[in-house]
């Protein structure tokens, strides 16, 4: 195995690809195949961060606006206004990056969509409805501020939240189906007897959707809190910044413990339904009892090297007993195994972040319980300042586990990735262009968000469309000079 292609399990592809693809344009070259997978992974990985914020931000907005209405406290309103402006930009970027994915499903994986498009069509149709509602009500929410009564305005945020959660649910059911393809029969290359509802409610749907939706709230909570953690560290310790930290951090902290339980559920699910993926996650090459839990390490010549092993750990986790037999990679031919090191390290990263966020949340909870305030140690804020990036890294790693761990299948046990890919030449060129465009997009998004944060600290630049006549002017934050960071 060499370099990147080894990491992503591409070895042997050349041999496989030639006899398998019967398309007129000839099979995709290994370079094109690799580019297609990287492009899909890259653009999904990009979108998922925005998608998490798209699911989570409405919850923050609604809660804070509700508090503002209840208490009449201006600080809450200022937070809502500032977050709402950021949401306007994030939502637009999230929507366009999601649209690209719908294109890529066909541009990159026509072999999947041409046959199975109809089986996973239903959740996407449902998701389409959710998108419409989301886009419509976000339009109302952002633009009709001050033209609706405060109560009605708050209510227009509810469909945004519901539709965001629903769209995350629907799209993940489609991915769950790729892991557990049920609800159809295949005859001569065409689909027969489709039960689209059963396909949508496949066995992988409960663990995956639950895990993903919780992840979205965690990413949102910790990311927004990170921004205010930086501001607090720089000495802006007024009530506004503390609220801006505490509300989102509490959102993340509530879900952190739940997520560990759900992650455990997801892993047990795999032990039963996708044992090969679980074996790759833990580098179990031979079926055995007393299977250890490996922390870190790389796979070399069918064994794990440099890993810290917890004896019988995996057997205990999967079956509550050291004698539980864990199925290994040897249950399938070499050609059907996912790349072990990538999947294993991604899994470890996710779990490590999970526990890191759990401890941080516990710290916060204890301090709050004892003296109704944030922990006093600057170390808490320093760690909180990286919690957003950490949560996003957990999501990315989780998806690498799910998607790379499914290889070499696009539809588990049914359709190989080599047969799903678009056979036209030159996909790699498209990948290069996409990378460039995303690089510019990333820079511009970050730049604009930072400028917005800075501008809204000076009173004259306060946005007009989120300003209702009956609402208070944003008080100037005179004391702090406008140095780069947001907050």
């Amino acid at each position: 195995m060499s370099g990147l292609s080894g990491l992503f399990g591409l070895t042997g592809l050349t041999g496989l690809a030639v006899p398998m693809s019967a398309a007129a344009a000839g099979p995709a070259s290994p370079a094109d195949m690799f580019a297609a997978r990287m492009q899909m992974g890259f653009s999904l990985g990009w979108h998922i961060v925005l998608a998490c914020l798209g699911v989570g931000m409405p919850a923050l907005l609604l809660f804070t606006e509700w508090r503002a209405l209840r208490t009449g406290d201006d600080e809450y309103l200022r937070l809502v206004h500032r977050w709402a402006k950021a949401v306007g930009v994030l939502f637009a970027v999230g929507a366009v990056s999601g649209t690209i994915l719908s294109f890529e499903m066909g541009l990159l994986w026509p072999g999947l969509m041409g046959v199975y498009g109809e089986v996973i069509g239903l959740p996407f149709a449902l998701e389409g409805n959710a998108f419409f509602l989301e886009a419509i009500f976000i339009g109302v929410y952002l633009y009709a501020w001050g033209r609706l009564s405060p109560r009605l305005h708050l209510l227009t945020g509810v469909p945004v939240l519901v539709a965001g959660v629903a769209s995350a649910f629907f799209v993940v059911t489609a991915n769950a189906w790729m892991n557990q393809p049920v609800g159809f029969t295949l005859e001569g290359g065409r689909i027969r007897d489709v039960d689209p509802w059963r396909a949508m409610m496949n066995p992988a749907t409960p663990p995956q959707t639950l895990h993903m939706i919780i992840a979205a709230f965690m990413v949102t909570g910790f990311t927004v809190a990170s921004v205010y953690a930086v501001a607090l560290l720089r000495g802006r310790r007024d009530r506004y910044h503390r609220l801006g930290f505490a509300i989102p951090f509490a959102l993340g902290a509530v879900f952190a413990p739940i997520q560990i339980v759900v992650g455990d559920y997801a892993a047990r699910f795999l032990a039963e339904y996708q044992p090969v993926k679980l074996a790759a996650m833990e580098g179990v090459f031979r079926t055995r009892s007393h299977a250890p839990l490996s922390l870190g390490g790389v796979a070399v010549n069918e064994e794990m090297r440099y890993a810290v092993e917890i004896p019988s750990g995996l057997s205990l986790l999967v079956g509550n007993s050291p004698s539980t037999v864990v199925r290994g990679l040897d249950t399938v031919p070499v050609a059907d195994r996912p790349p072990v090191t990538t999947v294993h390290l991604a899994f470890d990263t996710m779990v490590a972040v999970g526990f890191f966020l759990l401890l941080l949340s516990a710290w916060f909870a204890v301090a709050w319980w004892r003296h109704r305030d944030l922990p006093r140690s600057p170390w808490f804020l320093r760690l909180a300042a990286i919690s957003g990036v950490a949560a996003a890294a957990a999501v990315e790693s989780g998806w690498i586990v799910t998607e790379v761990g499914r290889q070499p299948w696009t539809v588990y046990g049914r359709l190989r990735t080599v047969d799903a890919v678009n056979p036209v030449p030159g996909l790699w060129a498209g990948f290069v262009v996409v990378l460039l465009v995303y690089a510019v997009l990333t820079v511009a998004t970050v730049y604009v968000l930072r400028r917005m944060a800075r501008a809204s600290r000076t009173p004259e630049a306060a946005g007009e469309e989120t300003h209702a006549p009956q609402e208070p002017e944003e008080p100037a934050q005179g004391a702090t000079p406008a140095t780069g960071d947001r907050g």
Partner: protein
């Protein structure tokens, strides 16, 4: 009407709404490009932004709707079109990113150079995206996309006379719709001078689109004879209707009946759009693949149509409310963009 036809109609309703709503948003971008230098063009740009701002994302969802209905209802068609027309569709996708993001960024930025930069990205992608979408339509309509994965010629399928005609017409129609809608919007915003400017643009583009369409008849006759044949037989009423409505719209524009011309212009575009499938039915990827060969199984069609119908009960009233709010939003002549 059976399930397959119903799905086809739903698909085409989506295409129509995308063209009428998002098309005008694209046209707004082109007009933004033509609005002139930064200071002189400011009032026009502000009005364009004011009218597009709250609705473009909802309008944009129609494209996603079309993609999803296509891959759910007619999976082999989706696979064939996406794989063969990989190049123009990738460019469309990139154009969509550039446009949506730049529009949001421009709105959020305060300095002139930023507004210019994002404005330029917004405007250029507004020209390129409809163009490439038009070439895609031309490639399919002229029978250059065979069924199968990447089975067609990846260049000739979109670099050909019918595709070029499709691309140019798409830009023209977008600009025309935008100019027509903006006449009415400008008048309601109390900006009669701007309304006059847009009226001039609407008249010019209306005439230009008409001229291109006339030339297009010759192009189709020579490059896409099967489509041509359908257009002058089964689809003739639609084609003729579109021509008449187009002329009526020009007269209404001349008479400054701006609200009425919104309707007639939209109807004229709708008639042309429906002319295409009517002309080639039952072929979906002409000449070979028919709608019935491409269609998904009945259970999928049934479930999808049901879901979309129920969804429409929620979506359509909400959308009407959004449009109403947008129309009622007072136009604010302050300096902040």
């Amino acid at each position: 009407m059976d399930l397959v036809q119903a799905m086809l109609v739903v698909l085409w309703v989506g295409v129509t709404l995308y063209a009428l709503l998002a098309g005008a948003d694209f046209g707004g971008g082109v007009l933004d490009l033509l609005a002139g230098r930064a200071r002189a063009g400011m009032p026009q740009r502000r009005l364009i932004e004011h009218t597009i701002g709250p609705v473009w994302e909802a309008n944009h969802v129609w494209l996603i709707f079309v993609l999803v209905v296509l891959w759910t209802g007619f999976p082999p068609t989706f696979a064939a079109v996406m794989s063969t027309l990989y190049i123009p569709l990738t460019l469309v996708a990139l154009g969509i990113i550039a446009r949506g993001a730049a529009f949001a960024f421009r709105k959020a930025s305060t300095e002139l150079w930023q507004q210019r930069l994002f404005g330029a990205a917004f405007a250029f992608s507004s020209v390129l995206t409809p163009f490439f979408l038009g070439t895609v339509a031309g490639g399919i309509a002229s029978g250059r996309v065979p069924p199968g994965l990447g089975a067609g010629d990846i260049m000739a399928s979109w670099v050909n006379p019918t595709s070029m005609l499709g691309g140019v017409l798409a830009i023209g129609v977008c600009v025309y719709l935008a100019a027509v809608y903006l006449c009415d919007d400008a008048r309601r915003a109390g900006l009669p001078d701007l309304a006059e400017g847009f009226r001039r643009r609407a008249l010019v583009t209306g005439l230009a689109v008409g001229a291109v369409a006339l030339v297009g008849i010759a192009v189709l006759h020579w490059d896409a004879p099967r489509l041509f044949d359908g257009l002058i037989h089964r689809a003739l009423p639609l084609v003729a209707g579109s021509a008449v409505l187009g002329l009526v719209s020009l007269v209404l524009l001349w008479l400054r009946r701006f609200l009425l011309v919104r309707v007639t212009a939209a109807l004229a575009v709708t008639a042309v759009l429906w002319g295409w499938p009517v002309a080639q039915y039952p072929a979906m990827l002409p000449p070979g693949l028919t709608v019935y060969q491409a269609a998904a199984t009945r259970s999928v069609l049934g479930a999808t149509l049901l879901v979309l119908a129920v969804g429409a009960l929620l979506v359509l009233p909400s959308m009407a409310w959004l449009l109403l709010l947008q129309r009622r939003t007072p136009y604010d002549t302050g300096s902040h963009g």
